[in-house]
């Protein structure tokens, strides 16, 4: 092959790659675009116009309504009220789940004994159980613990459901670290907790970032568990979102629905847009080792 032909091929490859990225980006952004333009249109325009057209008379009325006026039952206070509930659920769920995941991963990687392998196997298999199946037993469990319908109850349930993936993340990460580090710390006199707190945890900051991002968004987007376990006082934002958009026999205001959807997704979106780089970096540091 001549040099010219090779240069040509190189150019074609680059152009092809660019085109692929361009069209992929359009494909990925399309739903977001539709949501945004729809949320800015008045209802008449939505009924009459077409989905992809830009709003003729853009306005934020639907956003205002979604945040503070849309009816979610007797109260018509929008979905804003659920925001704090979601925060109160997401924060402890994330802190505890990440801490436990790190502790489990650490114990599994460096302090193995025979039974832990089996337990981890059971836990991993748990990642494949559709969570619907576990709702009824967990209702009984939390009820027996006196936690059903409380904030600690929903946090517990989130911790339970996130444990397989959290543990897997940290276990894989710690396994990619040199074992000698841990042996050195043992000889230095570090105990189980000492080594965890002083050595393992500070070293796993990238993985803590990954786990936190996954957990915050996962918990934030959860609907079913929050609905069943959180109790009336703690219903997360997604439940209110669903109240707004999924009425059975009520009237549907699509612009408000889209605005409410975007508002609900704001936190996870912000997390990804702002810390996506950490996410990539964190995963690159070790989560991917089989």
């Amino acid at each position: 092959m001549g040099a010219a032909a090779r240069a040509f091929e190189h150019r074609v490859a680059r152009l092809g790659g660019g085109a692929f990225l361009f069209f992929s980006a359009i494909f990925f952004l399309l739903p977001l675009y539709v949501m945004i333009v729809t949320s800015l249109k008045p209802m008449d325009e939505i009924r009459g116009g077409h989905l992809l057209s830009l709003p003729l008379a853009p306005g934020l009325a639907a956003w205002r309504e979604a945040w503070s006026e849309a009816c979610t039952g007797v109260a018509c206070e929008g979905i804003g009220g659920g925001f704090l509930n979601s925060v109160r659920i997401a924060v402890p769920s994330t802190l505890i789940a990440v801490a436990l995941g790190a502790l489990n991963g650490y114990a599994l990687s460096f302090w193995r004994s025979r039974w832990t392998g089996w337990v981890f196997g059971v836990l991993l298999a748990g990642a494949f159980i559709p969570l619907q199946v576990m709702i009824y037993p967990l209702v009984r469990l939390t009820a027996n613990l006196g936690l059903f319908g409380t904030l600690p109850g929903i946090v517990l349930v989130h911790v339970i459901f996130s444990m397989p993936v959290m543990t897997l993340l940290f276990r894989n990460y710690y396994r990619s670290l040199p074992r000698e580090l841990f042996l050195a710390a043992r000889i230095d006199g570090g105990g189980f907790l000492g080594i965890f707190l002083h050595l393992a945890l500070p070293m796993s900051l990238p993985m803590i970032a990954v786990a936190s991002i996954l957990q915050v968004t996962g918990v934030w987007n959860d609907y079913l568990l929050g609905l069943v376990f959180a109790g009336r006082e703690n219903l997360p934002m997604t439940v209110q979102l669903n109240n707004v958009i999924n009425t059975t026999t009520g009237v549907r205001l699509y612009n408000v629905h889209m605005a409410a959807t975007l508002l609900t997704s704001l936190v996870p979106l912000a997390v990804y847009f702002l810390s996506g780089r950490w996410f990539v970096r964190g995963i690159a540091t070790g989560a991917v080792k089989g």
Partner: protein, 417 residues
């Protein structure tokens, strides 16, 4: 730079966990307090439930609202909370076979005292009484009656297609649908979701099969009736209706189908009386822009479906008091009327003055009062399991090319469970 912004955001999220307190209502501490789970979450529904809340407050109680969209979700939450030992004061259910199980399990409190005092047996229609009475006790307080099988049509579309009067038989209905198609319109506006497929089937069974076949199939689950040629004709007519829907029908929400009728792009929709809310919101009026028919044939059975509050059993006398008060308030004539006005439903009581209702609801109320055409809706007759299996069979038939004989067998199997 960006990393710092991100860390700030994360920190903000993590620190922002204050414990918001809720303003408690200024009521005496011993006032009856009712936490009610229901699935009336938006628009007209919310306005309707607000009349219940207002009435309850006016009667001296405290209404604590637990709205959860989606009947299944709301029911499963109520159910799980009973199992979890943290039941609401009351929960909305359909007047259906479903809560018979709960009553039989002893999970529900009866409201016999209220029923006796208020003479429910005199003022409620028979199908409703039947639905809420288990083993001689009343376990639910009916709020309103919906009829799932109204027929709505666009007057503009009828004019465009040259249809002069409302069809009086299924043959006339098919003729009208043909003319609508010829005029370039969508003849039948339909949302292709299994519950809507099921709903259209109810309408066909009631209108084409008649009261007798309807009850023999759905109440008695009689194999001979399901295998009969009459039932076969019902199924064929049902499937024939499917040929009048547009390509975009599958998966469509019912209100988007209604929007087609409102805009005059479609002619007819078979849907419950809640569809009125959509017309009203589009500033259309019954008899002016659109028409409503409770059935095709003049003597077609009128399906009754009820929204009911049930009361989880409790030992707490305060809660019991709140439950009795709620049962009494929601069945009072005034509340029933106000609720129906906003919900688009019909009052359960036959002694309510209905002149303020719209023409469609007045017609419905007349039929409820008259009694002779009343017939229970599917979920009052079948267990949720049977109804679900029936739905699966019907939606498969509606959307596919399954021969009618096989569908008859499918339905027999579904109802045999």
């Amino acid at each position: 730079m960006r990393a710092r912004a991100a860390s700030f955001l994360l920190a903000a999220i993590l620190c922002l966990a204050p414990f918001a307190t809720r303003a408690s209502e200024g009521r005496p501490a011993d006032a009856p307090r009712a936490e009610v789970i229901h699935w009336w979450t938006s628009g007209g529904e919310a306005a309707a439930v607000r009349t219940l809340a207002d009435a309850y407050r006016a009667a001296g109680g405290i209404w604590v609202d637990s709205a959860i969209a989606g009947s299944e979700q709301a029911r499963s939450v109520a159910f799980n909370r009973m199992v979890g030992g943290n039941p609401p004061t009351a929960a909305q259910f359909n007047a259906s076979r479903q809560f018979h199980d709960m009553a039989e399990q002893g999970m529900l409190a009866d409201v016999d005292e209220v029923a006796q005092r208020e003479g429910w047996e005199r003022v409620f229609p028979a199908p409703v009484l039947e639905a809420i009475r288990v083993g001689g006790h009343f376990y639910g307080a009916p709020v309103g009656i919906h009829t799932p099988t109204w027929i709505w049509y666009s007057k503009a579309a009828f004019r465009k297609a040259g249809i002069e009067r409302e069809p009086r038989s299924f043959d006339e209905l098919f003729a009208a649908l043909d003319r609508l198609r010829a005029a370039g319109l969508i003849p039948l506006a339909h949302g292709g979701q299994s519950w809507q497929d099921n709903l259209v089937f109810s309408a066909v069974l009631a209108n084409v099969g008649g009261r007798d076949l309807y009850l023999r199939v759905l109440r008695d689950r009689e194999a001979a009736a399901i295998a009969s040629p009459q039932f076969r004709k019902v199924l064929l007519d049902y499937k024939r209706l499917q040929s009048y829907v547009d390509a975009g029908s599958p998966g469509r929400n019912w209100n988007d189908a209604t929007a087609l009728v409102i805009s005059g792009r479609a002619g007819i929709q078979i849907m419950g009386d809640w569809a009125k809310g959509e017309f009203t919101l589009a500033h259309q009026e019954a008899g002016r822009e659109y028409g409503c028919m409770p059935g095709i044939a003049p003597d077609a059975p009128y399906l009754i479906q009820g929204d009911v509050f049930v009361f989880p059993r409790t030992r707490d006398p305060g809660v019991q008091r709140a439950q009795r008060l709620l049962a009494s308030v929601v069945t009072s004539p005034r509340t029933q009327l106000e609720f129906a006005l906003r919900k688009g439903s019909v009052p359960v009581r036959s002694d309510v003055e209905v002149s303020r209702l719209d023409p469609c609801a007045r017609e419905g109320a007349r039929l409820v009062r008259e009694g002779s055409r009343q017939i229970p809706s599917v979920e009052m007759l079948l267990t949720p399991d049977q109804n679900g299996a029936l739905s699966d069979a019907l939606t498969t038939y509606w959307n596919g090319a399954r021969p009618v004989e096989k569908v008859q067998r499918d339905i027999a199997a579904a109802l045999a469970e």
